[in-house]
Symmetry: C2
DNA sequence: CGATGGTTTGAGATATATCAAACCTCGTGG
DNA sequence: CCACGAGGTTTGATATATCTCAAACCATCG
């Protein structure tokens, strides 16, 4: 029997709005699930049957065109909420980038539960508003920034979002060194570029001494100032 | 003294969640405001002091870079909600594209009211979720579509969103003919293109017989099928 | 060790941006 | 009523960032 008491995101996810009895009720309709890298939790255009909380790992939200072009429209981290409550279809697929653990609910069960718990809906609203803000900021990047600005912005955002939030009180410094949860192709799909352009920008930023790349997936931000300038 | 009873969006905006007494209370903390084309209701980065409902007209949400590049990150229509409740700053400016009427609230007053009326927060959540869906779909366009696909998609979306929703029951056909609330430059700022590229795509679509352009601001969709094919 | 999948590098093609000029449209004032 | 001016738009010529195609490279894993 799983329990929310020991859940590492208990105090950060939307669950934090619930008291002991309530969380017990929510626990009763949810279940844990583990995902391996590349495994999908839902697919674009599919009926919205599930929603979930991310406990551990990083997942991508993505859409594509008929002819196979792909765009990553969101990236979610521990404590983030996944899925489309109160809606019929999910507009994007959800796929694990790393090993991931999620807390899954039937959408209908969750909808009903949420409607009876305004404080939960309030948390969900806050999260959704914040995500909308972030998404709109990303539109500026997609529509108006150059390749080098895109890559620099991306690396800075990564260094900020990958911090393990040991405690909400201490927001934590952005990371100097981190492991990218993305392949080069996936970075390209986030930024609306090709894999070759992303690769060239990485090597250029390295040549310019702004970053270092110990291995394919590792990034060290050597000159954060300079990188920020590059990000436009 | 204004009244919500006669408000044309009373049954579509988030207000539709409230009963007679509640709407009276909401009415008491709101006021009407008229905007002329080009007039702004809020600015990027500014403290989030206002929120509002759109009663009439079309407004753009936009951000920009230091060096003056602009990106329109959203377009709002009658019954849509504007502003950032439960947050400190608004991430984008809000500017009227046409004559517009809005119902304005102090953000703090609205926040307090919303927290006491879960049904209102629920409506707001629904709207925010829908807007997030739409915004993410737009990211695919910005990141992965060609100029012609962008323009074609844009015209189709316009023809769908500009329908006057006389009644919620009858969603209404997309329009064959409509007046663009955007200048060419603004279309460019929506699509992440330059004004010249937008202009060329318009003339090409016209030359190909997919659309007609009686005047600068008017569009007729001649071949919707063809335009949809062009939209990718 | 050799095969495999992802990544980097290179050379060339192309869509879109940039710069510049001509062109409407509409309001204003003579 | 017409000429003028201003702002927005279209069209043209050229530049360039990014894409495309292709080959070399490198890590990982059997």
């Amino acid at each position: 029997m799983i329990s929310c008491d020991t859940c590492v995101v208990r105090n950060r996810a939307i669950c934090s709005s619930l008291d002991g009895d309530e969380i017990k009720a929510l626990n009763a309709i949810g279940r844990r699930r583990t995902l391996t890298p590349g495994e999908s939790l839902m697919w674009e255009g599919e009926d919205s049957v599930l929603v979930a909380n991310v406990i551990e790992g990083v997942l991508k939200l993505s859409t594509g065109t008929e002819d196979g072009r792909e765009q990553i429209v969101g990236v979610v981290y521990p404590s983030d909420f996944i899925g489309r409550p109160f809606g019929s279809t999910s507009g994007h697929g959800v796929t694990a980038l790393t090993e991931a653990r999620v807390c899954v609910f039937s959408r209908k069960d969750f909808d009903a539960f949420a409607r009876e718990h305004p404080s939960l809906e309030h948390k969900l609203l806050q999260r959704t508003l914040a995500e909308l803000d972030r998404t709109r900021r990303w539109m500026l990047l997609l529509g108006r920034k150059s390749a080098s600005e895109k890559v620099a912005s991306f690396l800075l955002e990564m260094s900020e979002r990958l911090v393990e939030p040991g405690c909400i009180e201490t927001p934590g410094q952005p990371l100097r060194k981190f492991a990218l949860p993305f392949s080069r192709q996936q970075v390209a799909d986030v930024l609306g570029l090709t894999i070759e352009t992303v690769s060239r920008q990485f090597t250029r930023l390295k040549a310019d001494g702004l970053i270092d790349l110990p291995s394919r997936r590792e990034v060290i931000i050597v000159d954060r100032e300079g990188l920020a300038a590059e990000a436009g």
